[in-house]
Subunit: 133 residues, 2 copies
């Protein structure tokens, strides 16, 4: 995988929402918005323990993440797609994820968003448009 | 499938962008932003003939569509997820798709977006949050 440039890493870090796709055991794709965090190397997300993403991961650890901005002026379109492999975040990785979540999303406290199934996503490939160059 | 309420249909129609997920032949999920149109029954999208969505559909016709709005105020979050089955739009279906595309996205002309692989998506299941009720 070619290194992710600083501008793309910053874009991933700052984005409030990503759309996260997985493959359910019946081969139907699932996609839903998720508030992610990124430490410059790994993406971390936290999903319901009994939701579709959790069920999908039991059969297929691949998660694809789309982070993009839409504008009516299509010359401004920009985004990143990240192909990743997920595993459950435990111990220090989970604590790190939640430190980043609490810092990036202070509204998570009032929303009573507490750890469920926290995942660490290892990026295996990526592409971008409009973020650099 | 339970009928889609008017408020949800209007939301789907008005949204400028959707994130469209499919399953590639190697079982890796793909997801990318797509400008869709909706006639109240079918979703229509147009994708590159040699892109990942087109390749995915050769092995698996399931397409899942996420249309949502993100706000820092999480009480305002809203969206729809549509589980669909795709087939190529031909003849009158394709013409209808393109009439709707040209009307909804006048910028498509200047962007030189012309028919590639146009798909008609039959909705088989759906869920929403924040759009009604």
């Amino acid at each position: 995988m070619k290194p992710i440039p600083r501008a793309v890493r910053d874009y991933i870090k700052r984005a409030g929402v990503s759309r996260v796709a997985s493959v359910q055991p019946n081969h139907v794709p699932h996609v839903s918005p998720v508030c992610h965090v990124y430490d410059g190397e790994y993406i971390y997300i936290d999903v319901p323990k009994n939701g579709k993403t959790a069920a999908a991961l039991k059969a297929n650890p691949r998660i694809t993440v789309c982070i993009d901005d839409y504008y009516v002026n299509w010359r401004r379109l920009r985004g990143v797609i990240l192909y990743t492999r997920a595993k459950e975040a435990k111990g220090e990785a989970k604590r790190k994820a939640w430190r980043l979540i609490r810092r990036k999303f202070p509204q998570s406290v009032k929303a009573e968003w507490n750890p469920r199934l926290t995942l660490v996503l290892r990026i295996e490939d990526w592409r971008q448009w409009g973020v650099t160059g």
